[in-house]
């Protein structure tokens, strides 16, 4: 068994932590894991892609066209990773709330339309679950729980070889006590939203 995922986002969004939480849950479930972080630049604000692999894995990086899931904390970053790595059978969890690169803010490069990003990802993979995860994080009481929303959504896909509870406990073990409640709430909102989307789809 092998499960290959990539968490994509912008530095500071918590994508690296999210990938570690998934990996810790996998370890709790008795699986071998590899997490390979590939930073655009070791800085805030840059593109970050964190490869999470579990099962019969040896190397730190997902093969091109080999990602079973892409967890996109930011839409453009989802496409940046998806274009090369998404498997034709793969799914995408896509936060639709953009984080505009400075390149766009200063008017040098336009940001692609959200519909275009989703359409491109659909042409590359099997299913795209798109929703405003940032909005859910704010509902949960803390915009910084965006990564927890995405983790909840991942648990809702049924892709993981372990239960949502194992993932939620791995999350709880890694966040500060002060934001534990908001993180749990965010996780559940994400899980719930994904289940709704699955029913709709």
């Amino acid at each position: 068994m092998q499960l290959n995922m990539i968490v994509a986002g912008v530095g500071g969004q918590g994508s690296v932590l999210a990938s570690h939480i998934i990996a810790e849950a996998a370890i709790a479930h008795g699986l071998a894991v590899r997490v390979g972080e590939t930073f655009g630049a070791a800085m805030r604000g840059g593109a970050v892609a964190s490869h999470v692999r579990m099962g019969d894995v040896a190397s730190p990086l997902v093969k091109k066209g080999g990602a079973d899931a892409i967890l996109a904390l930011e839409p453009l970053e989802g496409l940046r990773v998806g274009v090369d790595y998404l498997s034709p059978e793969g799914i995408v969890i896509l936060n639709t709330c953009p984080n505009y690169p400075v390149d766009t803010s200063i008017g040098v490069f336009p940001y692609p339309p959200l519909e275009r990003i989703q359409a491109d990802l659909r042409s590359l993979g099997k299913t795209v679950y798109a929703f405003d995860a940032t909005e859910l994080a704010i509902q949960a009481g803390n915009a910084r729980t965006l990564n927890a929303v995405i983790l909840g959504a991942l648990a809702g896909t049924g892709l993981l070889p372990f239960s949502a509870q194992i993932l939620e406990e791995a999350l709880a073990a890694r966040v500060p006590a002060s934001s534990l409640e908001s993180n749990r709430a965010a996780f559940r909102l994400g899980l719930q939203r994904l289940e709704e989307l699955k029913k709709g789809a």
């Binding site: 630049a41 604000g45 840059g46 491109d120």
Partner: protein, 694 residues
């Protein structure tokens, strides 16, 4: 007048090897030389100081080899032919810069002279620095005598400019410190200076920024692409000479080793009898000559001073060519691997290597079996039984397999190619509220206002992002010098970027050679202590007219907020001694020091103005703690900064480069999640339309 600066072409003179190198460099049009003394290399620059009395060029004793190397390199980038000389151990100080500048190459010719010291006469080791030239894929001269040293030094600048890479000249004690008969060449007119100029996108975009787009790996590819040009020179240069013969023995000797081989072969009566490849270029080797040797010999003897550097290159090609004969040298045990060699040792080795074959009568002509046995051997060592057809067959199998998988992914490949142009690049930025944003804003204002020709040399740390550009244009490359590129954002301020401490020394090379614009450098507090103090001392000692901006954010922030000597606490969080940058700067002899707060952009502007007006080394110390640290410690409050109705959509605030500033529907906006109320944007808004913050 010193013989080094005598313009009497054809005159013969006795010169020390180091003097011959200096003379050759002057004949080649040297304009700037920098070195730190080290035996056996010191006389290169000593001779140049003598010549300086008669000729106009710049020469300095630098604070150390790394600084000297960077001073020279800085001068090359503005168009001055330059030389840097050092000893073997001194070269180790230079490795960081050496290994990195090759990715971007140089502009005006650059000659790196390293005098090795086999037998450790004056040194703590016997290291062979030719290995570094090969490691770094740089063209490497190795003279066999003083006259060759002069000729090679004279030829270096043109070769360097042809390759757009520095040329390495490896001497040894018995070349550098020995003297020989040299025939003087023509000294160019003193006025024959290159037009000084600077173009940050010279021929390639972000040419002088090793991290700049399209990135260090692409620049590494560029370096490797120069190999073909080097091979061409190695194949045709008169510094390499192959003397063929019907013998099935070949001797390959390089540099000083060739002078020993010349004598040893003569003494043994073998000169002109065996095949002899005499090398003046230790990297790259002339492959065609080697192939000819492999095709016609059974034994190859390699004689060289130092490590088996040529021998290993010969072995590598021999394997690729399926050469079945013997290759004898230091790795094979024919010659001892340590200490110096000499004529006796070379003679002994050659006698041993050729002895058995002489006994078999194999030495001077065709093998006993005549041509037929050569052909037979040729078959043995050549292609497999099936000949070319079997190779081709294997090749086509590979191709066939390749195209099967390619067909399967073809539509997906096309899909990817169709999508990729839509993916907006995401340039990394400084953080919202970063103190460097204020420092760079002030610097940019001054540069755009008063000093268009300025060169800003970067360094390693968060602030290096000021050199990454924002992928603003794809067609920046231009061969024109002094081409102006407007500074659109803080991310296009830096013009050069290499390694820790390189910026401030490169600025000195540019200033000292007389570049007409201002020469600046930037470094952070951690980099200041790591690598720039010797360079700052150099600026004072040699009175370089540079401005040095120290961006003190009190942490080694880029790598994850490790403490720096200005953090006031150690990695355990306990109080620690704070080192004073300003006291160090003053103690190093800087008289023009301005300390400012980066969150006051007018103050930064004023300080930079004053520093640029000062003649001599000046320092602007912009001190503001890393905003991420401040936020972590103080627990961030909800931000108050807002864009009011007064916003005209002029986009001035965007040029601050803060990631918290957005722009939509012709109005600026503030990203509430990122903003930390630093107040910089309200200072830069010309319509006072941004309120709140500090």
């Amino acid at each position: 007048m010193n013989v080094i600066s005598l313009n009497q072409p054809g005159r013969r003179a006795l010169l020390m090897g180091n003097e011959a190198i200096a003379r050759g460099a002057l004949e080649g049009g040297l304009e700037l030389a920098a070195a730190y003394p080290g035996t056996p290399s010191s006389e290169v620059v000593e001779a140049l100081y003598e010549a300086r009395r008669d000729r106009d060029f710049y020469v300095e004793w630098s604070i150390n080899e790394k600084v000297a190397f960077e001073v020279a390199y800085g001068a090359s980038l503005v168009g001055a032919r330059c030389l840097c000389a050092m000893k073997n151990a001194g070269f180790n100080w230079v490795m960081d810069t050496f290994m990195t500048i090759s990715y971007t190459g140089c502009k005006a010719g650059m000659l790196i002279v390293v005098a090795d010291d086999p037998d450790a006469h004056y040194s703590s080791n016997e290291q062979d620095t030719r290995v570094a030239a090969e490691y770094n894929r740089l063209f490497c001269f190795e003279p066999s005598n003083q006259e060759e040293a002069r000729q090679m030094a004279a030829a270096s600048f043109q070769i360097s400019e042809h390759l757009e890479l520095p040329v390495f000249l490896r001497s040894v004690t018995r070349i550098s410190h020995a003297s020989g008969d040299v025939t003087l060449g023509i000294l160019p007119e003193v006025q024959n200076r290159h037009q000084l100029g600077f173009n940050k996108h010279w021929k390639l975009p972000y040419r002088w920024n090793v991290y700049g787009p399209p990135g260090a790996v692409a620049k590494h590819d560029w370096l490797l692409s120069r190999g073909a040009l080097m091979d061409e020179i190695a194949a045709t240069s008169s510094f390499n000479r192959l003397t063929p013969s019907p013998s099935r023995i070949a001797v390959i000797a390089s540099g000083l080793g060739a002078s020993y081989a010349d004598e040893a072969l003569t003494n043994l009566g073998l000169l002109g009898v065996v095949q002899y490849l005499r090398l003046g270029i230790a990297y790259p080797l002339p492959n065609a000559a080697l192939r000819q040797i492999f095709a016609t010999t059974d034994v190859v003897v390699v004689i060289e001073e130092g490590d088996p550097m040529v021998e290993r290159q010969v072995l590598r090609l021999a394997q690729a060519e399926d050469f079945r004969g013997k290759i004898l040298g230091k790795d094979s045990g024919l010659l001892k691997p340590t200490g110096e060699i000499n004529t006796d040792l070379a003679e002994e080795a050659l006698a041993k290597a050729t002895g058995n074959l002489t006994a078999r009568g194999n030495l001077t002509g065709l093998p006993a079996g005549g041509l037929s046995s050569v052909t037979a051997r040729g078959n043995l060592t050549g292609l497999p039984a099936g000949g070319l057809s079997s190779v081709t067959a294997r090749g086509s199998n590979l191709t066939a397999r390749g195209s099967v998988s390619l067909d399967a992914t073809m539509s997906r490949g096309e899909l990817r190619a169709e999508i990729k142009p839509r993916i907006t690049p995401r340039s990394s930025t400084l953080c919202a509220g970063c103190p460097h944003l204020g420092s760079y804003w002030g610097l940019k204002k001054v540069l755009n206002r008063q000093s268009e020709d300025a060169i800003v040399n970067g360094d390693i740390g968060c602030y290096e992002q000021a050199g990454y550009g924002l992928f603003t244009k794809k067609d920046l490359a231009s061969p024109e010098d002094s081409k102006r590129y407007p500074i659109l954002s803080p991310y296009t301020i830096l013009d050069t970027l290499y390694v820790m401490g390189s910026g401030i020394a490169m600025a000195q090379g540019q200033a000292q050679i007389g570049y007409p614009g201002k020469c600046l450098a930037v470094a952070g507090d951690s980099t200041f202590f790591h690598a720039t103090m010797p360079a700052l001392a150099n600026a004072v000692a040699n009175q370089a007219d540079i401005a040095f901006l120290i961006l003190d954010n009190s942490w080694t922030a880029m790598t994850g907020h490790q403490p720096s000597p200005t953090s006031c606490r150690n990695a355990l969080g306990n109080p620690a001694t704070r080192l004073s940058i300003e006291k160090v700067v003053e103690a190093l002899g800087v008289h023009d020091l301005h300390i400012v707060a980066p969150y006051d952009v007018k103050a930064v502007e004023g300080a930079v103005d004053k520093a640029l007006a000062f003649h001599g080394p000046s320092v602007v110390l912009a001190r503001g703690e890393c905003m991420l640290q401040v936020i972590r410690r103080t627990k961030r409050r909800w931000q108050t900064t807002v864009v009011t109705e007064g916003c005209t959509g002029c986009k001035t605030c965007l040029q601050l480069g803060c990631p918290a500033i957005t722009f939509a529907d012709e109005k600026a906006g503030i990203d509430r999640l990122l903003c930390v109320d630093c107040g910089l944007c309200s200072q830069v808004c010309p319509f006072h339309a941004i309120l709140g913050g500090k």
